[in-house]
Amino acid sequence: MIEAQGLSVTFHNNGRAIAAVRDVSFRVAEGESFGIVGESGSGKSTILKAIAGLIKADAPGITVAGRSMGLKRSKAERRLMQCVFQDPYGSLHPRQTVDDMLREPLLIHGFDDIADKVGAALADVGLLPLHRYRYPHQLSGGQRQRVAIARALILKPRILLLDEPTSALDVSIQAEILNLISRLRLSYRLTSILVSHDLGVVAHMCDRIGIMQNGRLVEILDVEDLRRGNTKKKYSAELLAASVGYSRTSS
């Protein structure tokens, strides 16, 4: 469904070239849930943005549903995948109501029955009709993230890209949102890529997990191998050990 082949992304800043992602290759099968973990600056979000077509890859290296995709995409190609972002405060337009935000994608793609579809999308993510005409500042963090999920799914995409969807939320809200994403993923048969710095979240949500360090994909592990600690590379083992908690004895 999604294939990255030798994907590299370089940012140019004041004449300096910074390689954010270097020669990364992986495949995500239809219906699969793929996870990418790494620390800040490892390039994990950059990969997601390149797949989404928000930033330019150095060379065409992304194939989605059999088609090579660059930065310029048709409306139909855009509809294929949608994204949920990290910051529930920055991902909703501050001057638009929930209703406005959910109508917009339907208007762009010329749907009819817009009012009904918006209502159904809200119900899908567990929001009530009373939330429909609220502005983002009248919603809690968890509710905002639900709106973002509703917005991503209202176009019925086949692929859902999740960029740290719960890292700004409290544990209890995180559990609710992760359960919601799992349920929607199953009922809409979505293929998904989840990016996170939290190994626990990725292990909970994904079948296979890619570990990133300094722009490179260190290794790809099955979730069972990760749970058992069957890592091949030293960095993965370090990351795994650090994620379990603080240990006074080890040096």
């Binding site: 620390e39 995180q174 292990a203 379990v244 603080y246 006074r248």
Partner: protein, 279 residues
């Protein structure tokens, strides 16, 4: 003398008045702290940061702090005047915040900022202060203190910035360090290094540490004792290594809501809140 608790808090309340309503941010919080690592966990809005600010006299003006007892090393903190607070803060009680980026002055070299902090509280020559600052940078495991001394805050990575902050807060050798989410902005591998530095300093210097975090696994593995806060109240107090045996339904639910690598579950359990917890 040394058996006396470092900090005694009894019935601490913090309330904010605004638009005809009174919001109780902290309700009847009582605890004592020795020379140990005390963790305070809770979700956002649970009052954990407000509690810490109250201990430093940093509650902004519409907020009102009341308590039956608020005593630090035998000194009564209730009704302290501003200048008394200033003498206490930074000197005997220090605080490390979540993000070093906002706590350091962006246009002054970090070494000079540490040096300044020392000179503010001690009668010493500039040379002396400089030596102390370098020694402190070394104490927080910075490999090349001479180099880091001359860097500006924006040239530091997150982990390095947090170490510099800790160095700055500890140069006055406080008796109590309050760390408010000191590692939340850091990567996991760096996080553990910073925790180790804090750990060693507490052990070596016999400091008291209040460690505020929303991250239960870290608190349970790092601290000696844990207070669990919910809605401004302490709902549970227990030994950190026994946190997984916590009795309060909120603590239990919170623990179950954390996705864990070693315990796969099909669905994460959700915290259902009981209004009785607040009564």
């Amino acid at each position: 003398m040394s058996t006396d608790p470092l900090l005694e808090v009894e019935d601490l309340n913090v309330s904010f008045f605004g638009q005809g309503e009174t919001t109780l941010a902290v309700r009847n919080v009582s605890f004592t702290l020795g020379r140990e690592r005390l963790g305070i966990v809770g979700e956002s809005g649970s009052g954990k940061s407000t509690t810490a600010r109250a201990l430093l006299g940093l509650i902004p003006s519409p907020g009102v702090v009341t308590a039956k007892t608020l005593r630090f090393a035998g000194q009564n903190l209730l009704g302290l005047r501003d200048q008394d607070w200033q003498a206490l803060r930074g000197q005997r009680i220090s605080m490390v915040m979540q993000d070093p980026k906002y706590s350091l002055n962006p246009v002054i070299k970090v070494g000079h900022q540490i040096q300044e902090t020392y000179l503010l509280h001690h009668q010493a020559s500039a040379d002396d202060a400089r030596r102390r600052a370098l020694a402190m940078l070394e104490a927080v495991k910075i490999r090349d203190p001479d180099l880091v001394f001359h860097l500006f805050p924006h040239q530091l990575s997150g982990g390095m910035g947090q170490r510099v902050m800790i160095a700055m807060m500890l140069i006055t050798e406080p008796d109590l360090l309050i760390a408010d989410e000191p590692t939340s902005a850091l990567d996991v591998t760096v996080q553990n290094e910073v925790l180790r530095i804090l750990d060693d300093l507490v052990t070596d210097r016999g400091m008291g540490l209040i460690f505020i975090s929303h991250n239960l696994p870290i608190v349970s593995s790092f601290c000696d004792r844990v207070l669990v806060m919910y809605g401004g109240k302490i709902v549970e107090e227990c030994r950190a290594d026994a946190l997984h045996k916590a009795k309060h339904p909120y603590t239990q639910a919170l623990l179950r809501a954390v996705p864990r690598i070693d315990h796969p579950v099909r669905e994460l359990s959700v915290v259902s809140r009981n209004p009785e917890w607040l009564s």
